[in-house]
């Protein structure tokens, strides 16, 4: 059980009465603004942005609504393919491609969510995993559109013309800030949702579903809406990743990618605003540093993750909060 002080802190965050919470998007934007200079190289910083957003989307569902999905790769992958196909196959510009990725991920989330929210708890984890595997097979088979096993190549967005400026995305720093713009907008949206009446209800559903229903809330509708929003955020992360990599590997859709969202959120701290980003950064740093001396970095990442599940279930950021407000 969480210490009383932490529950009080969490409530202040919900109420929006503490300074950190009211400025959380600004703080995130400022920190991420200087972040590339804290990282060994820019590509790593970009990965933290993309996977951080991916984990934020997952955390909205798991940390705040309490539904553990093992199928979020379906949304990350669909977002990536949706964006990639619009660019690589249809030759349309980025400002159509990114919304297309988000939209297609939301549609897939609607279909999967419609089925999966009929189940609860651990059953939900199994069903989302299975349905995501189904999405994988569909993209794998649709070779003419997706490139099948080889992935989708040629998602080239080299430069972006805005009124007055032209951004050269071949420069890592420019690409970083281009992606950061979308991530900050997404964080702002998530922050508003969490502070809204809707956000209050999803936390109430996490706490006690039957009571929320008795209070007069249509629990199934809240679950499905949150599922779709969560899927759309992960779809945005996928779309940005397609532009970042210029390709969409079929691995975007596999079970291990779903697991990444779980691992990163758990490492950072579920149900906290900054936790998923902290977790994504921690995971990618572990991967990057251990890869220097062994190709079996998964062994170390997996072991660290298990240690957190066993001994630090609040995650890095959750433990920091506990220490700050003890």
């Amino acid at each position: 059980m969480r210490p009383l002080s932490l529950a009080l802190t969490a409530q202040r965050a919900r109420d929006g009465t503490d300074a950190l919470t009211r400025r959380r998007v600004l703080i995130a934007a400022l920190f991420l603004g200087v972040f590339p200079w804290l990282m060994p190289y820019k590509a790593l910083a970009i990965n933290v942005l993309i996977y951080g957003l991916y984990a934020v989307g997952f955390n909205l569902l798991y940390g705040y609504l309490g539904m553990l999905s093992f199928g979020h790769a379906a949304f990350f992958g669909t977002g990536a393919y949706g964006c990639g196909i619009v660019v690589a196959r249809w030759g349309k510009p980025w400002f159509l491609a990114i919304p297309a990725g988000v939209f297609s991920a939301a549609v897939v989330a609607l279909a999967i969510g419609y089925l999966a929210i009929r189940t609860r708890g651990i059953y939900f984890a199994m069903v989302t995993l299975a349905l995501a595997q189904c999405v994988y097979y569909v993209f794998f088979q649709a070779e003419s559109l997706t490139g099948g096993e080889n992935g989708l190549r040629g998602v080239n967005v080299r430069s972006i013309s805005l009124p007055g400026v032209s951004l050269n995305l071949l420069r890592p720093t420019t690409k970083y800030y281009f992606i950061l713009f979308f991530v900050v907008v997404a964080l702002w949206i998530v922050s508003r949702i969490l502070a809204s009446p809707f956000g209050a209800v999803i936390e109430a559903i996490r706490e006690r579903e039957a009571r929320a229903r008795a209070c007069g809330y249509n629990v199934a509708a809240f679950k499905l809406i949150t599922f779709v929003v969560s899927g759309a955020l992960c779809g945005l992360a996928g779309a940005l990743n397609a532009i970042h990599l210029s390709t969409v590997p079929i691995e975007s859709l596999v079970y291990e990618t779903s697991g990444l969202a779980v691992i990163m959120s758990l490492l950072g701290g579920t149900g906290t605003f900054f936790g998923p980003f902290v977790g994504a950064a921690a995971f990618l740093l572990i991967q990057d540093l251990t890869a220097l001396w062994t190709e079996h970095w998964q062994l170390i990442a997996g072991a660290v993750y298990m240690i957190f599940v066993l001994f630090f279930p609040r995650g890095i950021w959750g433990s920091v909060l506990e220490w700050l407000y003890r």
């Binding site: 093992f70 009929r118 189940t119 708890g121 069903v127």
Partner: protein, 293 residues
């Protein structure tokens, strides 16, 4: 396209062989869930480890029978260690945590196998005594697949006899219903849970070594199997052994039959089946409603 009845019959047998493996996996999952309310996300990894232990023992001893016995024993032992030292500390902390932990464990097991046996998949020869085909009246059918059906049926029968007819089984059934009562009766429920986790893991390992001659061994072979075992469990109903067997065979036959008509749809079809079950009967064919609420 018209298909001769004998082709259909042979394909049905192929489906039953595949389904028998699914049933073994789903029985292990259901057993562990029914007793411990733990969804074992490492079940696919146990399957994979079983296949690799079989591969290793086959190479070492040259006897397939040795690996057939050794693999479930070894994986069962892994299961015992996992329950005792990793899963047990998490009881009482919410149902999510054992699931999250076993998921991480699968991640680690896959990597350990990669270190020991390499990243590439390896071929696994069908044992001499079981290769070739036999006349099954409608045509010739690979002997090894018949053996898989028989071995899986024998293992299922053994589990059923153990649970339904022995005094240990009585404790297990009582414990699944109400752990407190069992504890009051002076039985150490923790040891029952330990044993169940070991048996469930051993069944996954047995399925793994049985599957190895059909598909070879690869570190990732557990990933897709895990998703398919979940599908079987959802269709059959969580916690129901009968459901595991029926749904396992149903899924196996569905895959083999659709691959006859539209091979690219075979896998997707199984998920459509699951979607249908979720819409009509969310607790599964043989599941109890409200079990997971």
């Amino acid at each position: 396209m018209t298909l001769a009845p004998d082709v259909l019959a042979l394909q049905l047998l192929t489906g039953l062989a595949l389904g028998a493996l699914y049933a073994l996996l789903a029985i292990g999952l259901s057993l562990i869930f029914g007793m411990l309310t733990v969804v074992n996300f490492a079940h696919g990894a146990f399957f994979m480890v079983g296949a690799y232990v079989g591969f290793f023992l086959y190479g070492l001893t040259g006897s397939f029978w040795a690996s057939l016995v050794g693999a479930p024993l070894a994986v069962g032992a892994v299961g015992l260690v996992v329950e005792r030292f990793l899963v047990r500390p998490l009881y009482g902390r919410g149902l999510d945590y054992p699931l999250l932990l076993t998921f991480g464990l699968a991640y680690v097991l896959v990597e350990i196998v990669r270190i020991l046996f390499g990243k590439q998949g390896l071929p696994f020869d069908t044992p001499e005594a079981l290769s070739g085909a036999v006349d099954v009246w409608v045509g010739y059918f690979p002997l090894y697949r018949l053996f898989v059906i028989g071995a899986a049926a024998a293992a299922t029968l053994a589990v059923w006899l153990f649970i339904d007819k022995t005094s240990y089984g009585l404790i297990i059934r009582a414990g699944a219903r109400d752990p407190v009562i069992v504890r009051i009766l002076g039985i150490d429920i923790a040891r029952v849970w330990l044993a169940i986790f070991g048996i469930g893991a051993a069944l996954a390992g047995f399925a793994g070594v049985l599957a190895a001659p059909l598909q070879g061994v690869a570190p990732e072979m557990g990933d897709t199997v895990l998703a398919e075992a979940f599908v079987v469990t959802v269709i059959g109903g969580m916690g129901s052994l009968l459901g595991a067997v029926v749904a396992g065979l149903l899924v196996g036959v569905t895959i083999s039959m659709t691959s006859l008509f539209a091979p690219e749809m075979a896998r997707v079809c199984v998920f459509a089946l699951m979607a249908l079950v979720l819409l009509v009967r969310p607790q599964g064919m043989f599941g109890r409603a409200g079990l997971l609420s």
